[in-house]
Subunit: 233 residues, 2 copies
DNA sequence: CGTTGCGTTGATGCTTGTCAACGAACGTGG
DNA sequence: CCACGTTCGTTGACAAGCATCAACGCAACG
């Protein structure tokens, strides 16, 4: 029997950082930075930047969904983050990007020139501070994912993933998935078949329902959380 | 047949951030910060801080080895980072620490009061910038570990771990391990038995030798790298 | 109305976890 | 200094979980 020390709702961020409202001119102390941003539209399936490209810019997603992805020589693929409106990315790269960013849907983003924003950050402590917050949030998210990949079983990972999506993009009780089962698998370190089976298990357990292939309805959120926290199924 | 695009030595950092020389008064732009630090000694096995403690301080390791560790309700354990001299840690926590830090050996560290260093960072853009570098390095390290846990097999992980240790703490060709097999397992998302078996495999393959239980000698570094990059064994 | 892509499900095998025994190193106390 | 117990690492036998291979169903699209 365990005391449940933290029943608090886990912090909403899960893609790299987060900022809830994707407004491009939030009064968040970054006005001088936002002034440097260029709005862009990217269509589904296209790369935003490639692994190894010169990291001249960093980005903020306005609408749509993207992912950060690393491809290995043998074809294995790891998605390190799903990105949603409000998320910053490409931020941690100093010289070259360490992975690619791809559009999972048509999307809009703002592109910031690194050199010029760096100049701002070097002279304006407020901006530097906000940038650091963003980096810390990304780090926090990455560490949560370490725990997921390091010590969760397949159903636990899927439950955890669904809760993550639920926190971030819930529309009532329904999650709309922008990504395929294969993408989810590459995110969770599983195969697409294992993801599919785990979803079926959750469905049979009455925790979720699956109205169609790209939507999932959360029926028992507490049940999902217990599963994700390791209280077994 | 694959072209080897990046034969460049991977960046040395692997624990959170990194700064090669563990001098406490490096002229790195942090003099005003270092002035706030309190030197401490911690003995082997003791906790530096606990999961959920108020994050009043952050730390820099001067000597010895520590680890950042998360314990789950069911007893499963994940080590998110091994910390070596020069590493900063406890940096990303805003209010509470998200995991514990433990001393694997007797060690010395410097403890910085968060509130006071935050004040400095808010007014001094140079310090804020250095802090951001530290956060970015931690993030970069965490993302490399995501790849490890997400898509490497057991022998690949162990090879990757040994190379990591080799980069950071090599003494000639020999690595001295401050941690047990169980700790390595908790770091790699494997059991101690699997770690032990993987080490035996590497030994039989002639890539390493194991003079004693806490030392490992790198015999074929390129072979280890090929294995870690997925060129099979 | 066929084609194509995606998701589901089943059968099977490999990798890793689990349980257990053994052995080597270390520390303690006689 | 040696006998002892304790801890840690290694190895083996077996089980479980997940990956792989393959077939099938369903929906979207031309």
């Amino acid at each position: 029997m365990q005391l449940r020390v933290q029943t608090t709702t886990r912090s909403a961020a899960c893609g790299p950082p987060g900022h809830e409202a994707p407004s491009s001119s939030a009064d968040d102390g970054l006005e001088a930075v936002h002034a440097l941003g260029m709005r862009r539209s990217i269509e589904r399936g296209r790369q935003i930047y490639g692994d190894g490209d010169a990291a001249d810019h960093w980005f903020r997603l306005l609408s749509g969904t993207a992912c950060a992805v690393k491809l290995r020589a043998d074809g294995r693929r790891q998605i390190t983050a799903f990105l949603q409106p409000g998320d910053y990315f490409g931020f941690e790269a100093a010289i070259e990007y360490g992975f690619a960013a791809e559009a999972l849907t048509d999307l809009e983003l703002i592109r910031y020139p690194r050199a010029r924003t760096e100049v701002l950050a070097r002279t304006d402590a407020g901006i530097a501070h906000r940038f650091r917050e963003i980096a810390h949030r990304s780090l926090d998210a990455a560490q949560r994912r370490l725990l997921m990949l390091g010590l969760m079983s397949a159903p636990e990972r899927v439950a955890s993933f669904l809760l993550e999506q639920f926190e971030r993009s819930a529309d009532g009780q329904v999650i709309h998935l922008a990504m395929s089962r294969a993408d989810i698998g590459d995110y969770l370190g599983l195969t697409l078949e294992t993801v599919s089976r785990a979803i079926s298990v959750l469905k049979r357990a009455g925790l979720i329902s699956v109205p169609n292939r790209r939507a999932i309805c959360i029926l028992d959120r507490d049940g999902l959380e217990e599963l994700a926290e390791g209280e077994a199924l």
